[in-house]
């Protein structure tokens, strides 16, 4: 049993490393060759885990070989458009201004139900609302709505809105995020000063403290309600 436990840990770490090397794409964003690779890896990993007579190397070697194959395929798809089209295919327009493209539907083995479900996922419940729908190589559908169904934007409404910035977390569950504090060009004393102004005494009393380039901050002490506030003299380079 101890052998199986040890083997499972080893295989888990190696599979984790292989997936980390593969990148951060999620299942839905995977190219066909990445999906195939994921399925094979899942199957390969279980063999040496359950079968004690099989050396761990018999599971590790195929995993590493597949990671090399994946690396080479990714490299080739980046370098060559033709290779990329062969391996990953190309996006196909399934709805155009004239309606559904029946030929494309046949080519992709899609039914009307599949397309309607994909459109609903994008927030459109009728084909009449859609100008273009494109089936991406990952299998996801991207939709460009007709002008009358496009969401209003600040630009279209000619509103003078300020840019928004990504908030930086300075305190996370009572812990000072040193790197983020440095990134925000602050120091521990300054952070303590900010939380003191908001009624918290110590860093470990704060559940979360975030701040953005414009000085918009949010604090929530542990056991209290969160609140937004404005700070000045905080200029961070995003």
């Amino acid at each position: 049993m101890l052998t199986i436990v040890a083997r499972s840990i080893i295989i888990y770490i190696i599979v984790l490393l292989v997936f980390r090397l593969m990148g951060k794409r999620q299942i839905g964003q995977m190219q066909p060759f990445e999906l195939v690779l994921t399925l094979i890896i899942a199957d390969l990993a279980t063999i040496p885990m359950a079968e004690v007579s099989v050396p761990v190397l018999h599971g590790v070697i195929p995993l590493l070989t597949l990671s090399i194959v994946h690396f080479v395929l990714t490299l080739l798809t980046k370098k060559s458009t033709i290779f990329s089209r062969v391996i990953s295919g190309k996006p196909v327009i399934i709805i155009n201004p004239h309606g559904l493209d029946y030929k494309a539907m046949k080519q992709l083995n899609l039914t009307i139900d599949d397309i309607m479900a994909a459109l609903r996922n994008c927030g459109y419940f009728s084909i009449s609302q859609v100008q273009y729908a494109i089936m991406e190589t990952s299998g996801k559908v991207s939709v460009l709505p007709k002008a009358e169904y496009s969401p209003a934007t600040n630009g279209a409404l000619e509103l003078d809105e300020q840019e928004s910035f990504v908030p930086i977390t300075l305190i996370n569950e009572g812990k000072l995020m040193e790197d983020n504090v440095k990134f925000a060009r602050l120091d521990k004393d300054k952070v303590i000063e900010i939380i003191n102004q908001q009624g918290a005494k110590r860093i470990k009393d704060v559940l979360i403290l975030t701040i953005d380039k414009a000085g918009e901050a949010y604090i929530q002490p542990i056991g209290s309600e969160g609140k937004s506030f404005k700070t000045k003299s905080l200029v961070v380079e995003a």
Binding site: S53, V54, L57, I61, L64, I68
Partner: protein
């Protein structure tokens, strides 16, 4: 980051090459050694068919000792089930020698030689094996 990626995959590639070479060398050496020990026992049998001689005891001990040493390193590289028959036949040989059962010993030696030969053939890189 890109360089780091290349280095990672370079290391993995070198590791794979190293493992392939090590496997080839270790498996070849171990099985060839076992085959050689079997040939030695066969030669001794041709000279003298009695099994309870000092010479024969030494040769069988040699076979067992070498196999024990090689088996531990082979277990890292090959499926234990594929090679366990060799170990079982060696343990049978010990009892055949004690009982002076020449015919059974010959069968066991042939089985070991066959297992070694077939495994050497089975693990080698060839189109047959790949396909």
């Amino acid at each position: 980051m890109k360089v780091f990626h290349y280095i990672n995959f370079g290391i993995i590639f070198l590791f794979l090459v190293a493992i392939c070479v090590i496997e080839d060398v270790v498996v070849n050496n171990s099985l060839t050694q076992t085959q050689y020990d079997c040939f030695q026992i066969e030669r001794q049998l041709e000279r003298d068919e009695t099994l309870n001689s000092m010479q024969m005891a030494l040769l069988v001990d040699n076979l067992e000792y070498h196999w024990d040493n090689n088996e531990s390193s082979l277990c890292y590289l090959v499926n234990h089930k594929s090679i366990q028959e060799i170990g079982m036949e060696i343990s049978k040989i010990k009892s055949y020698v004690a009982n002076n059962d020449v015919e059974a010993l010959k069968v066991s030696i042939e089985t070991i030689k066959y297992c070694c030969h077939s495994y050497l053939h089975f693990m080698g890189a060839s189109v047959h094996n790949i396909l």
